[in-house]
């Protein structure tokens, strides 16, 4: 089972976890991104996320398919939020279940690392004195 979503609504972490639970799984790894109050020593007021939605959905699905082909995992959920987020809010939730924990950990980490490398989503950091598009991947 693969469930991919991009939404303006707050992400439901509990729901993502429920979606990956299954009686044949022994472990679930969940990554939850949260908006941090500081970046490079500067106070962040909030973040704004923008997605090239059709392509981002496609790239996220590709990541999930790559995971399925590389690790023995059962279910994968990747949900990304867009729009304006405050400090402490959750831009991304990735949950992966597997029979054994190593596959869940490896797959979840691969998902977030790869998402940050190539899924067309952009974040603008809003400071008290201005805003700037972030380019984490040069």
């Amino acid at each position: 089972m693969i469930d991919i979503n991009i939404t303006e609504k707050p992400l439901d972490v509990q729901e993502c976890i429920k979606m990956v639970m299954s009686p044949d799984s022994g472990g679930i790894d969940v990554f939850i991104g949260t908006v941090r109050n500081m970046t490079k020593g500067k106070r962040v007021v909030g973040l704004e996320f923008e997605a090239y939605e059709s392509m981002a959905m496609k790239e996220m699905k590709k990541i999930a398919m790559e995971i399925k082909s590389r690790w023995p995992v059962h279910k994968i959920v990747i949900h990304h939020r867009v729009g304006v987020l405050q400090v402490g809010e959750v831009p991304v939730v990735i949950a992966v279940s597997a029979a054994h924990r190593n596959a869940a950990f490896d797959a979840c980490r691969y998902a977030i690392d790869t998402l940050k490398q190539r899924v067309p989503i952009w974040k603008k950091e809003v400071f008290e004195d201005g805003e700037v598009w972030v380019a984490e991947h040069p």
Binding site: M55, K116, W122, W133, E136, P138
Partner: protein
């Protein structure tokens, strides 16, 4: 000549001054041709550490040929997650 519509996201939107622009190129132009034409017109593009071009929701290579029916987008360095 043909007119191609180019979508912009993130900082590319600021560089283009909008969500999309149109640019005239030869028919059967390549991604490489598009890149040169865009950089001539919007020199700030060259200040980005890098950027990709996507055609129909897929990252495209320099030699790919584009048509005016394709959905073409500038993908500045991504920063999701």
């Amino acid at each position: 000549m043909a007119v191609y519509k180019i979508l912009a996201f993130g900082i590319a939107k600021d560089i283009f001054g909008g969500r999309a622009i149109e640019i005239a190129l030869d028919e059967r132009a390549t991604i490489e041709n598009l890149r040169s034409a865009l950089e001539d017109k919007y020199s700030k593009l060259k200040q980005l550490s890098s950027y990709m071009i996507a055609v129909n929701d897929e990252y495209a290579d320099a030699a790919n040929i584009i048509s005016t029916h394709d959905e073409i987008a500038i993908i500045p360095p991504v920063s999701g997650g």
